[in-house]
Symmetry: C2
Subunit: 152 residues, 2 copies
DNA sequence: TAGAAAAGTTAGCCTATGCTAAGTTTATTA
DNA sequence: TAATAAACTTAGCATAGGCTAACTTTTCTA
């Protein structure tokens, strides 16, 4: 098989720096998005979001969740009284909805690509935070063209 | 348009926790992978990897690079004498090669999906760290089937 | 080759996210 | 309802990765 050779080429420093800065910014939002998405899911499925359940689902300790929730509250994503369950503010709810939408697109896309469900679940959790609107749009087109082919 | 409704369903706590733990682990490797990849590129394109160029390409300050390089040296990925240029250990070189391979697959895949070059560059930098072997394999199949269609 | 500029280091600060241990509040149950 | 258990918070620690300021070393150049 002929292997395409990609000529190694460095980007101009400022261009590449902009890319890395963009990734770091996305990265700062990751925990926030995971948290609000989980809170929204817990409220939808269990009736309320308790810290102990968040810790169990996230695989971290309760104090870690407590500390991160304090930041989210400070930043206006969530609302909660001490020792009580957690609520999303409108801003948090909005972020939860858009995060879930992206997550779903990435998940369905991976399934459409023939990836196993277990891997799709795992990878979509990491990938969702780094797919731009343009990429998500391309993924969505692919999903829709596949579902047309499959059903029509 | 009929919109597919995904029934909201929480994963079992331990299953979801495993996913998040996996993402956190991948996340810890991100900086390491970006650094060794960049060092390898700088050596290939400029003849040597200097800290100042790394800082410029990464978009961070020199002390930040210095600190992270100290960790990478501690962990056996790089080698360097004070005030001198930076070298990859065999372990670092191996990681650089596999990171670059993943990066290339993700980039080419996005291009094959019809995403613009600018977006593909940007997104591939974030996505590369979160695509499993299975997903990369699926991406690669897609690239190859497209290049067959295009050229044959 | 001396002085200036560039590169690299060190010190000290910050935030985010992990942890355990210990204490407080709330909920359960005997 | 009193005791226990569960949930939550607080304190204190660690690491990673950001930063600026100040210092040292190396390199360049006049």
């Amino acid at each position: 098989m002929k292997q395409a050779i990609t000529r190694r080429q460095l980007q101009p420093p400022n261009k590449q720096a902009a890319v890395f800065q963009h990734v770091r910014r996305a990265h700062q939002m990751e925990a926030t998005e995971d948290y609000v998405e989980l809170i929204d899911d817990l409220i939808a499925c269990e009736g309320e979001a308790r810290l102990v359940d968040m810790a169990r689902h996230l695989g971290v300790s309760q104090p870690t969740v407590s500390k991160t929730l304090a930041r989210l509250q400070r930043e206006g994503y969530v609302n909660s009284q001490p020792y009580r369950s957690i609520f999303l503010t409108p801003k948090g709810k909005k972020l939860a909805i858009s995060s879930r939408k992206r997550h779903d697109i990435v998940f369905k896309f991976l399934i459409a690509m023939g990836v196993s469900e277990a891997t799709a679940k795992r990878d979509s959790e990491g990938l969702e935070h780094h797919a731009s609107a343009e990429t998500l749009h391309a993924f969505n087109n692919f999903i829709e063209s596949r579902s047309r082919t499959a059903s029509g």
